[in-house]
């Protein structure tokens, strides 16, 4: 029993990271129908940047994170404007290739700026709480809480603000949104900005829980897509549920079945869900 609870807790932290990655992907997908493959690399970049600001530039950690998030927003805006906008009217395969090109550029840029080394963002949070045999490292607890807070504010933003509604409107019917007076040129910029900011947060979490290294972006984005598919493309609740399911499934699979095959089991679950519900858990038919 304790083991089960512990394993679920283990899975929640990583699940939170998956949710954040998937949230960014899902909003971009919902609005623009783009499979933004570069999202993982951008997350990685955000993690590296935070590490650099905190370790080499000596900023306090929270300031470093805030600065990286701001840079992430700008980067997201630039990506939409310079890379995706020109191919908006072409087929979605073209946008996918642009995404691959972006991935390479971000990876390359990251190597130039921060080198090949794996880095760990130092948080200084090494206390461990224990409740009835279940241990929770302080850091993991904060990660779970931060993820929850970000998810909640994202949901509120989309549901309750005018801009959030405009984002939904563009996602559902671009032309009608124009006719409502929505500036449809600006919306994708906002969406990419927010999405990338969330990606940066995910990168920071991975970088402090574990480590970030070149190439980790691929892993992140693949997991993000798996979550998206599991939860249903374009659905925010879907991303949240999908991320948690994937994180916990992996932890349970690693703990109770086989750690070597935990990814395989996670993907098997995803494929199985899809075959029963081709539109994902929360997707619209």
């Amino acid at each position: 029993m304790i083991e089960l609870v512990q394993q679920i807790l283990n899975g929640l932290a990583i699940g939170g990271v998956y949710v954040l990655v998937a949230l960014g992907l899902t909003t971009v997908f919902g609005i623009l129908g783009i499979a933004h493959f570069a999202h993982g690399s951008v997350s990685m970049f955000g993690g590296y940047l935070t590490w650099f600001l905190a370790v080499s530039a000596g900023l306090p950690l929270l300031a470093a994170i805030a600065a990286a998030m701001a840079v992430g927003f700008v980067l997201g805006v630039a990506i939409e404007l310079l890379a995706y906008r020109p191919v908006r009217s072409a087929s979605h395969i073209n946008a996918f290739i642009v995404a691959l090109g972006l991935t390479m550029m971000v990876e390359g840029l990251n190597l130039q700026l921060f080198g090949h080394e794996q880095v760990v963002i130092p948080t200084g949070l090494s206390r461990v709480f224990e409740i009835g045999g279940v241990t929770i490292p302080e850091l993991r607890l904060y990660v779970i809480l931060a993820a929850a807070a970000l998810i909640a504010s994202m949901t509120l933003f989309v549901e309750r603000t005018k801009t959030g509604q405009a984002i939904r409107a563009v996602a559902e019917n671009r032309e009608a949104a124009i006719l409502m007076g929505v500036n449809v040129q600006a919306i994708p910029l906002i969406v990419f900005g927010i999405s990338t900011t969330l990606g940066v947060c995910a990168g920071v979490m991975v970088g402090s829980l574990f480590a970030i290294a070149p190439g980790i972006g691929e892993w992140l984005v693949v997991k993000g897509f798996a979550v998206l598919i599991l939860g249903g493309l374009g659905s925010i609740p879907g991303a949240v549920i999908g991320g948690m399911v994937l994180g916990v499934t992996e932890a349970l699979a690693a703990g109770f079945v086989s750690s070597a095959y935990k990814d395989l089991i996670a993907f098997a679950v995803m494929i199985a869900v899809l075959l029963m519900r081709p539109q994902g858990l929360m997707g619209k038919a």
């Binding site: 283990n10 090494s126 932890a251 699979a253 109770f256 070597a260």
Partner: protein, 380 residues
């Protein structure tokens, strides 16, 4: 006259294995510069200045195959060094016998690389099971009965280490109660550790690259596990501290060849450490001298063979060589030779423990190089 001799390097300069590969490549360049500064490699009346071409194989067999192919076909190189990783080294070893080239393997630990007696291949690091057996005896001697293993067990040489370890542990009445594995890119080992924690082992054995191992040490503390931890990593202090705090590392053992540590180093070892640190701005990793020593072995072999073109002769000369005076590692010569007839060199094994932020050399682990050499030859 002064001429140039190109030597090639294929090693992991990036990626997870670069903790081993990059320091090796650095050490090779340093050795080449030292040799050049001292007048180069002397053959007949000519002195050859060494020119190093290094490709990044990322520790990956396919990339290494392509890199070596390119070194031989495109850059026309005949002497190839590096190879921190078993997979990459094995892949290249599988075809090197057909090439007009000599391959000098450094840090890679897979036994089969020297088990086939490839004539134009030598290696400085002793095989994993040679070390694993010594490690098993040591852990057994310390009285642990129930040992859990967490390792990159689908990588051949780690499994080999654990098998040899288990055999010796069993002799001392201990046993391995769990073999959990992880992928080379995994960084979250809490599921495996949680599972192990439930089994209440007396000790934990970690076999894997430095980074995943460091995460295991860190996460084991985070999960409140308070048992002796042993490992096989050859990582430096700096490499571990990037991931885990010194407190989280405290008391961890590394059971590996004696390699380079400041306490155990000879005069040459200390000089190597000094020069490297000065040149690259950080200390060398423990296993980096394997490649450095290979450069000097090559120099002496070429000079002994009296040719740079006849790779067969150079390969033969390598097998006849006594450990060169410039070598950093303390090799245990077999019949007076640095490389035995398998092409394999041996060092002593040792137990190192993390104490107060440093790896401390605690004791030598008894091993019999000559007997192992016989055994290795018997595998053919």
């Amino acid at each position: 006259a002064e001429r140039t001799l190109r030597i090639g390097v294929s090693d992991a300069l990036t990626g997870g294995a670069s903790v081993y590969g990059l320091p090796q490549a650095n050490a090779i360049k340093m050795a080449a510069d030292e040799i050049n500064a001292a007048g180069g490699v002397k053959v007949g009346g000519d002195s050859y200045m060494l020119d190093v071409i290094a490709y990044d194989d990322k520790g990956n067999p396919t990339e290494a195959t392509n890199a070596v192919r390119k070194l031989i076909d495109f850059d026309e190189v005949k002497y190839i060094l590096g190879f921190c990783c078993s997979g990459a080294a094995s892949a290249v070893a599988s075809f090197i016998a057909d090439e007009d080239a000599v391959m000098l393997v450094g840090n890679a630990a897979e036994r089969s690389i020297t088990a086939r007696g490839i004539p134009n291949l030598v290696r400085t690091r002793p095989p994993a099971d040679y070390t694993g057996a010594a490690a098993g005896a040591f852990v057994g001697k310390r009285g642990h009965k129930r040992v859990a293993v967490l390792g990159a067990l689908d990588v051949g040489f780690y499994a080999l280490y654990v098998d040899a370890f288990e055999k010796e542990l069993n002799k001392a009445g201990g046993q391995i109660i769990a073999r959990e594995s992880f992928g080379l890119k995994d960084r979250d080992m809490t599921p495996q550790l949680t599972k192990i924690r439930e089994m209440n082992p007396d000790a934990l054995l970690v076999v894997g690259y430095v980074e995943p191992a460091a995460f295991i040490y860190r996460q084991s503390v985070e999960l409140g596990m308070d048992i002796p931890r042993y490992g096989f990593t050859s990582g430096s202090e700096e490499q571990f501290l990037r991931v885990a705090t010194s407190e989280q590392m405290e008391g961890v053992w590394d059971l590996r060849p004696t390699e380079l540590t400041l306490q155990s180093a000879t005069e040459t070892g200390l000089a190597y450490h000094r020069n490297y640190t000065e040149r690259y701005g950080m200390p060398p990793s423990p296993s980096s001298p394997y490649a450095y020593d290979n450069v000097y072995a090559l120099k002496h072999a070429i000079e002994a063979a009296g040719t740079v073109d006849d790779t067969r002769a150079v390969a033969r000369a390598l097998r006849e060589l006594a450990p060169p005076p410039e070598a950093v590692m303390q090799y245990l010569p077999v019949d007076g030779k640095m490389f035995d007839r398998n092409g394999q060199a041996y060092t002593a094994n040792g137990a190192f423990q993390w104490r107060g932020g440093k790896w401390v050399y605690v004791e030598e682990l008894p091993s019999d190089a000559k007997a192992y050499s016989e055994f290795l030859a018997s595998l053919r």
